[in-house]
Symmetry: C2
Subunit: 683 residues, 2 copies
């Protein structure tokens, strides 16, 4: 289907279904009953039904006023048609989490839902099932979101640039204004709602001069974006400048305990809610990488955050406070300071000090979205504090959407990581779902990967990361395999060869990328600033706290309690013990936790140096394999998509060869140990 | 003396002379006879006399119409007063070189000169002698320029930026226009004329869009600059874009053999000379670092240059063609290609092919103005081709005018380097003076270090590099010590403590800088792009042909004929032999020519690794010594200058410590060899 637009419909393409299947279910979508209070979402649901049913069945939809005369009923949980269903009866109706039930009763399809948003989610689920040709005769599907907050962070600037954006310019902004055509923003909202996203922050966490004005003279722009997203159940958040009172008014301080500052923010928030009654709240990067914050005034992060939270609280607003706080003026000669410890050190002691509508947004790892990091030890370490997991969909350190790197497998490992916060089975996913400590303001956030490129994400296959993120945020227990298959089926085709080929490509890609880039969790061997491409010493002597400490004998950072920086001691006992010793530390994180001789025998049975050589040769071979796999799909994939991916794989091969050779040469030169297999390593 | 201007008078300050000295010579400057044809230079000479004599003697000058009634006579060589002087009789009057004679005859001071320019040079010499309180009673001073061309290259862009500028913005341009006030340009011309500079190219050799228009719609701007400089005997040159016919007209090619291109340039040059009859000519960077050139059309450099030279020839114009041509897309894995060989390879075979008014401008070293390089082997290797030595006054790789690095000692080594082009005593200075191969279109060019900072050069003491360049270009046999003393005396004071202290600082500074930066000629261990500060691997894996090849055992590039790239073979036999073997290669260039084990014993009696450690500790100690020396002058130097240098020395100390620690750590890590003296090297 040609959408008639200058951008791809991604996984929301609707093509006419095959005749057999169509005939089987066409009747189910004839007469529709819709029970819904939210008028904006109601309009969206009607439009979505018209579009999807129109294209899938080539028929018009008809809405009826009584459920009895309808084939498809979209209703509340309390509706008589459905309220006796066991699933619904078991539900605690006070619980905030979105949920829907889809059931076929006597050849009528009932979509019952907790709230207006969930009706939208259930509806997109129906379209998904149709596109994947699933059985709807015997369906009895109940879905409840694991997380209340399923959020995206945009690092878009008003001038149209995107910090760490690899897919063109902002779809929102240009020349410090909203872009002229807003249809693409609406289609973006549809894509997000279809995978359950319910919150979005619409400007860069680094809030510069123009963006600071989003809560003052440029607020009209926010309102316009709000109207688009609210019709798809997505709440708007703004990243704010902590120094706003100073920058956009005459107040001489931003001290969170100063009355005039408190009053200024309360007044500001009141005005926002007068215009946007269901405004989400603020996202704040404070005292981080040069951004202003409470430290300037001798206040801690709790004092800094609570002041804003109190202003938001009367309106149900939320204050999201980023924990990416560390010393970015470190001296490389300093072996004591450890950036990895900063998040825990800066926040752990404040547990219990934050208001209920404050959420700490914590990056998955203690450094910064490297291809491999351990899980941040703060997860589970603050039982009285709401926590939000921050992931990075945009591929800053993972190939920048030139290289294929499917991140769902990485995120699965993070979600399934057992923190031991309350003994065994204290996985990250249970902490951020709020289940472990009975919290509601918790969930997922992630820096998004879209821009105004035709395909949204630069690399066509990078769409899968956005899709998968939404799916995981709703249901973290989904396997990577299932998500992958779904995405391929919805986006391209259910042709088994395409399914298995693209699945293999996606599911092997993170491992391939890791192989040819940075070994065993040490991170950072990239070009400074833009972060693409190899530079082994690129961050070695910098001020960013990012070192590998390679010398003639070995490489890695000793973060043990006994002989190193003491970082391992931030974990709960079971993990602390595991990471403390080289013997029990998993291979893939060994260099993150220990300084290891090149001759050390890994649990894989290889020496460290041989592992470095082997993995780098394997990485390039992996990319070659990706090329071969993709070539096999030449006749099965739309030419535009095919060529996009083919060209990106070519770039990826070049990049992987450069990584392989430079890393291997670096370690050969410094260690003087030859490759066991005598492969080509440049002197 | 306060000049009343917002910039320093540098070495052209004129303060009232001491009474004794004044009384002795005041009479000599009472009545002045001036014989001169050039009306513009005549006006300048009158102004300079009024300014200098006015300030030095606090008296007005009086011009008389007959030499007989004058005390100071400024006349031609042919004038009866002087024509029997032995020096003048011996001169071949056909020789083009500037010259003047200064002689006291019966208590009358006679300045006789070859031409109008030389009268100006002689006049500035008189002021210099006065300021330095020299005896004028018995003077008999003859000076002849060693070089016809004494040129400066400005890398200024029309937007006011300066490529590799470290002293503020352009004194010429702003916002793609000439700056509003032109008085500073005039004072700049005065400074240059006072040290004998006679040629200047006024725009960056990388000629971008706006600068391309200097020969078309923006030519008026050139004319204005021309009028200022020509009054001080300085010829104007323009850097041109080789693709100009394509960029500023409708011609579809820039092929130097295409008739329409030839006609276009001839027409263009004709128009220029209609407006500026003594226009100098063009400077061209072609087929270099991405700039267009004849290679695009399958033409060689001689064909490319001669076409332009032929257009200039009828008007006496000169075409200067830069030899900085090399492959800037090299693969670091490629050990065969050697950037050092490129200049020779690209030009040597064309000897005899260039027209007489073409000059090849050749950088002093084969790489790019590193702190230490061998002399380019092309010098003397093209006896039928005019050669111009290109130096870099602006301190791109030598501390960027934050760090003190006085370059006269470096340039002296280059000038005195014996090429053996015609056997022993074939020094570079004899080749570029034209003496060796009887050429006239030869000499010096250099990239200048001035900007609109108050003191012209960012670092006050960096003025000495500009001053010394001019002095050397006129008289390459001057010692660094003499030039240094002169400059200090003219700029500050002849106080013996100031003289000896600043002399020590300047004369030791290159060696100090070399000590804490890049060892033994290997070069390039700087941060890419901006080129300030240490980054040992900064250019190691790049496309620029700039490698050190350090590994566990040693470092350096083997450029020998026997086992290396063969670069040594480009030198004349005596030098080729010297560089070919590690034993005879001078220590200071050892790593440029050889890959050397860390344990190799240098002729200094130290191992290579120990030399690296020692020199880096010594470098920082050297900077500390500079600080102590400068502190001693606190009461003897103007506060503005004192604080400028004090602050720069502080920056230099920080820079030198970072260099020391990073270089030492790098080599300790890779070699695992400890410092003999167990000083602090970070692991």
């Amino acid at each position: 289907m040609d959408t008639g637009k200058n951008y791809s419909a991604a996984w929301l393409k609707y093509q006419l279904l095959e005749q057999d299947y169509r005939e089987k279910y066409a009747d189910l979508f004839s007469d529709i009953y819709l029970e819904i209070n939210d008028q904006k979402i109601k309009k969206s649901i009607i439009e979505e039904l018209e579009l999807a049913i129109g294209n899938l069945f080539n028929k018009k939809v008809n809405f009826v006023s009584e459920p009895e005369s309808a084939k498809l009923c979209i209703v509340d949980f309390k509706n008589n048609i459905i309220k006796n269903d066991n699933k619904i009866k078991k539900l605690n109706n006070d619980q905030k989490k979105d949920a829907f039930l889809l059931v076929n009763k006597d050849n009528r399809l009932i979509l019952a839902a907790k709230n207006s948003n969930s009706k939208l989610y259930g509806l997109f689920k129906i379209f998904e099932l149709l596109k994947l040709k699933k059985d709807l005769k015997n369906i009895h599907l109940f879905k409840q979101a694991a997380n209340n907050i399923r959020m995206l962070n945009h690092w878009d600037n008003l001038d149209g640039s995107i910090e760490r954006g690899y897919a063109g310019k902002s779809i929102f902004y240009k020349d410090n204004k909203l872009r002229k055509k807003l249809t693409r923003i609406k289609d973006y909202a549809r894509l997000l709602a279809s995978v359950g996203i319910n919150s979005i922050s619409i400007n860069n966490v680094n809030v510069f001069e123009e963006e600071t004005k989003l809560i003052s003279e440029k607020f009209d722009l926010v309102k316009k974006i709000y109207h688009i997203f609210s019709a798809y159940g997505i709440k708007i958040f703004l990243s704010i400048n902590y120094a706003s009172p100073m920058e956009i008014s005459n107040i001489k301080t931003a001290d969170p305990l100063a009355d005039q500052v408190i009053n200024w923010w309360q007044n500001k928030v009141k005005k926002i809610y007068e215009e946007i009654p269901d405004f989400g709240g603020f996202l704040v990067k404070a005292d981080s990488e040069g951004r202003p914050g409470p430290f300037t005034y001798g206040r801690n992060h709790a004092e800094g955050a609570n002041m804003l939270a109190e202003a938001l609280e009367p309106y149900g607003g939320i204050l999201i406070w980023r924990c990416f706080v560390y010393n970015c003026q470190q001296d490389w000669r300093d072996y004591k300071t450890d950036r990895a410890k900063a998040t825990y050190d800066n926040f752990k002691y404040l547990d219990g000090e934050f208001n209920d509508n404050v959420i700490l947004q914590i990056k998955n790892g203690p450094m910064d979205f490297q291809v491999r990091e351990p899980v941040t030890p703060l997860f589970g370490a603050m039982p009285k504090t709401n926590q939000l997991l921050e992931l990075q969909i945009t591929q800053e350190y993972t190939g920048q959407q030139k290289d294929l790197c499917y991140l769902i497998p990485q995120w699965k490992e993070i979600l399934d990581f057992d923190t031991y916060a309350k003994g065994k089975e204290s996985q990250v996913k249970k902490i951020i779902s709020g289940d472990m400590f009975s919290q509601t303001n918790t969930g997922f956030a992630a820096v998004v990967n879209v821009g105004d490129d035709y395909n949204w994400t630069g690399h066509d296959l990078a769409q899968a990361n956005l899709y998968g993120y939404g799916r995981l945020a709703w249901e973290p227990s989904l396997t990577a395999e299932i998500i992958t298959k779904e995405w391929i089926g919805l986006t391209y085709t259910d042709d088994p060869e395409v399914l298995s080929t693209i699945s293999e490509m996606l599911l092997s890609s993170w491992s391939i990328y890791e192989n040819y880039t940075v070994p065993l969790g040490i991170g950072w061997m990239v070009n400074p600033d833009h972060h693409y491409g190899v530079n082994v010493d690129g961050y070695e002597y910098s001020r960013w706290g990012t070192y590998h400490r390679a010398n003639h004998f070995g490489i890695g950072v000793d973060r043990s309690v006994k002989t190193g920086t003491g970082y391992t001691g931030q974990y709960f006992e079971e993990n602390a013990e595991m990471y403390e010793s080289m013997a029990s530390c998993p291979d893939e994180l060994l260099l993150f936790f220990h300084h290891v001789p090149y001759t050390y025998m890994l649990s894989s049975g290889k020496t460290l140096i041989q592992h470095i050589y082997d993995s780098h040769f394997a990485g390039v071979e992996g990319v070659e394999r990706l090329q071969i796999l993709w070539k096999g799909l030449a006749d099965k994939i739309d030419a535009k998509v095919y060529n996009n991916v083919k060209n990106r794989l070519k770039l990826q091969l070049e990049n992987s060869i450069e990584w392989r050779d430079r890393v291997n040469t670096y370690f050969y030169r410094i260690s003087s140990i030859a490759d066991e297999y005598n492969r080509k390593i440049y002197k």
